[in-house]
């Protein structure tokens, strides 16, 4: 090749490498950016007085007097709205039956929208669902709800060739000339006084239980469940995995047929889709071994343990193989037995590598969904005490993210919880991986002196 073209090829390769790194970084940023930004919305947001009321009434946190004072002020600000409704209802009594019927329907729609925004109206019976007892706790959601007070959704079927078209009708038009007409100017202007939004940092999102299927509160049950499952998986997988790795590296004869078969099996295990592990866990741990009568943290941990076992074995094997042969020779030459050598020389020297593998596999276990669907995860549940892990299922971040995004009856209302959970899970996994890097640097620094 000519010198010129050789340089060209070199430069082309450098360029391709650079471009792919930049693309990767961009992809990572576009992926992580929204996760972080929107996830933070679960922790830092403009909380309304209703949020503080929830905290006080449901979680016993906050200054009672302060909240009462705020509530009184908010109620005073809402009073004119309720008065207008009362005045309108009095007007209706005088109206003719046809008009009354027509306006009654409009009024019911308005009242429903107002209830969602501000909570129960005066005179309403106590609602059965917790979520109906409070107004909007977040200002961003309150603004959305305000729109549905101001505008009514309607479908236009006039053109038979297309499907119904959504149109927004201003409710103000429906109440033109009545006592309610000023409401539609007043409400947007006075909403802040009615809900008193304030920037709030809500760490309770991590440590509070959820109330009424995540309408209120935090994700403690899911977080704790994920920790239980992950730690459980590691407790099972690490002793087994490290022991297998020691056997493979120190005892097994490389070239023997059973050992080769064993290796193939481990590689195959690493390639099995995780849903298969989930079904296997159900069939084997629950239905065959009966480790618990139905789903439990224990069964889930065992299933996850099998999932991460190949990862643990491989990283431990690599770490053990990386221990200089000279350590082993030195130990044996001093009269140490084989096991002694492994326990006192080889394992400690391989520890950074093994730990790194363990922590990375923890990250893997924490994020897996499929293996726990059939073995451990439930959509709604309370945080478990330690002794309950043997018999009870638990919510867990990966499964509940899916569940909240797809099967929750009010998916749109709790977007912030979904993003908050995703951020928490991502942060957990990143934390574990940085811990791995840290451990590695720290211990291998010590080994190198």
């Amino acid at each position: 090749m000519q010198r010129g073209s050789r340089e060209l090829v070199d430069r082309a390769f450098t360029g391709v490498g650079l471009v792919s790194i930049v693309l990767l970084a961009a992809a990572l940023l576009t992926l992580l950016g929204p996760i972080v930004l929107r996830g933070l919305g679960a922790f830092v947001f403009r909380g309304t007085v209703e949020h503080r009321r929830v905290l006080l009434e449901q979680f016993g946190r906050g200054d009672t007097e302060e909240v009462q004072r705020e509530l009184a002020a908010a109620r005073a600000a809402r009073e004119p709205v309720y008065d207008m409704i009362a005045a309108f209802e009095r007007e209706m009594k005088q109206a003719g039956p046809a008009e009354r019927r027509a306006m009654g329907e409009s009024l019911d729609g308005l009242k429903a929208a107002l209830r969602e925004l501000l909570g129960p109206l005066p005179g309403d019976p106590d609602p059965p669902l917790l979520r109906l007892r409070f107004g909007q706790t977040r200002w961003d959601r309150a603004l959305v709800k305000l729109q549905s007070v101001l505008w009514r959704e309607q479908y236009d079927y006039s053109d038979p060739t297309v499907m119904g078209r959504k149109v927004l009708v201003p409710r103000a038009d429906e109440f033109r000339g009545t006592a309610l007409e000023p409401l539609f100017d007043r409400l947007p202007a006075e909403l802040e006084a009615m809900l008193r939004p304030r920037w709030t940092v809500y760490w309770g999102f991590l440590f509070d239980r959820s109330r009424d299927a995540h309408f209120f509160g935090g994700i403690w049950a899911e977080l704790l469940g994920t920790v239980y499952l992950t730690v459980g998986a590691v407790l099972f997988a690490v002793p087994m995995g490290v022991a297998s790795a020691i056997y493979l590296v120190e005892y097994a004869r490389e070239d023997s047929r059973p050992v080769r078969l064993l290796r193939t099996c481990i590689s195959t295990l690493a390639g099995v889709p995780s849903i298969v592990f989930g079904l296997f866990g159900l069939a084997f741990f629950i239905n065959t071994l009966h480790v618990s009568s139905s789903k439990s943290v224990l069964a889930g941990s065992l299933t996850l343990a099998i999932l991460i076992l190949p990862l643990v074995i491989r990283s431990a094997e690599e770490a053990l193989r990386a221990v200089p042969h000279t350590y082993k020779e030195a130990s044996l030459s001093l009269g140490a037995g084989r096991w002694r050598t492994v326990a006192t020389v080889i394992l400690p020297a391989a520890l950074p590598g093994i730990l790194t593998g363990v922590v990375i596999s923890m990250g893997r276990a924490a994020g897996e969904t499929a293996p726990i669907i059939f073995t451990a995860a439930v959509s709604v549940g309370q945080p478990l005490a330690l002794w309950e892990v043997f018999s009870r299922p638990t919510p867990a971040l990966p499964w509940n993210i899916y569940n909240l995004c797809s099967e929750h009856q009010a998916v749109d209302e709790i977007r912030h919880v979904q993003y908050g959970m995703v951020l928490t899970l991502v942060a957990l996994v990143l934390l574990l991986n940085s811990a791995a890097i840290f451990i590695r640097a720290r211990i291998s620094g010590r080994l190198r002196g």
């Binding site: 030195a330 030459s333 001093l334 037995g337 006192t344 002196g449």
Partner: protein, 288 residues
């Protein structure tokens, strides 16, 4: 250059004689052992070591006296390490390695059925070519052997560690950093630490496989001084590449060539008036 050619020679079928030597000049199969001074410590009789089918040590017979320093010299690949490592059975680690003939330590068959390899290795210490301290503290390195042989008491261990480090002429340099990582020591210090570590299990015999080849000349000469000090108390067998070193430190020298023991004699005699032509060629630098 010479290294390349002799390695090549060592790899060809060992039964083929070296081209430069007419068959008539091959040594008698059983070279006369040097007159051993004092009790015999290690004795080999027709001792061979095979790696799979390759006979790396070929029917060696020799008797190494106690309390002396014996050097094994010879071009690389001639089986020095193999012979040395046969004495504490480190070759057991290598799959496919087997021995024939007899090798005894104090009259006891090293490959006998009732031998306890762990106890054997306690009696026969070993120092390797590259310093190989454990990635632990200086103290833990030296205490490693005593600990595995059941010494637990702190004060006892401290006494053993100090005694061994003094014996290895390292105490003065490390007494203030006993609990620092041994890998922070210099190469020469590391090697003396390895000697101290070997001495800590109170062996009778010390095997050294080119212990100074990875060190600078000053560190190497300190090791040589140390070997000199160990003379008398320990039997030392040292493999070396370096003929000056063999001449300086050893009482007896064995010259090996292509797995065979060519000559074994008092160092002074072997280097001044070797009985074998091949020894002569080697020590005058005609090959190897």
């Amino acid at each position: 250059m010479a290294v390349v050619s002799e390695k090549g020679a060592a790899r060809v079928n060992p039964s083929v004689p070296v081209p430069s030597l007419p068959p008539s000049e091959r040594p008698p199969p059983d070279p006369a052992p040097a007159p051993p001074a004092g009790r015999i410590h290690v004795a080999a009789e027709g001792f061979s070591v095979f790696y799979a089918d390759v006979e790396a040590v070929r029917s060696v017979t020799l008797a190494i006296p106690q309390g002396r320093v014996t050097a094994i010299i010879g071009p690389s690949g001639c089986g020095k390490s193999t012979l040395l490592r046969a004495i504490n059975r480190m070759n057991d680690l290598i799959p496919g390695c087997r021995v024939s003939g007899r090798l005894t330590l104090d009259g006891e068959d090293v490959y006998g059925p009732q031998i306890d390899v762990t106890a054997l290795r306690q009696r026969v210490g070993m120092v390797f070519q590259k310093p190989n301290p454990f990635p632990k503290s200086v103290f833990d390195n030296v205490a490693f052997g005593p600990r595995i042989h059941g010494i637990r008491g702190r004060s006892q261990l401290e006494a053993v560690v100090e005694r061994s480090l003094r014996r290895a002429a390292l105490w003065g340099e490390v007494q203030d950093r006993l609990h620092e990582n041994a890998l922070g020591l210099s190469g020469g210090q590391q090697q003396r630490l390895c000697i101290a570590r070997a001495l800590a299990v109170q062996p009778e015999l010390l095997l050294m496989d080119e212990p100074t080849s990875a060190l600078d000349p000053i560190a190497a000469s300190r090791i040589e001084d140390l070997i000199d000090e160990l003379r008398g108390e320990y039997t030392v067998i040292i493999v070396t590449h370096n003929m000056q070193q063999a001449a300086r430190v050893s009482d007896l020298t064995a010259f090996m060539y292509m797995g065979e023991l060519v000559e074994f004699d008092a160092t002074s005699r072997l280097f001044t008036s070797p009985a074998q032509a091949r020894t002569q060629d080697y020590i005058t630098g005609r090959f190897g």
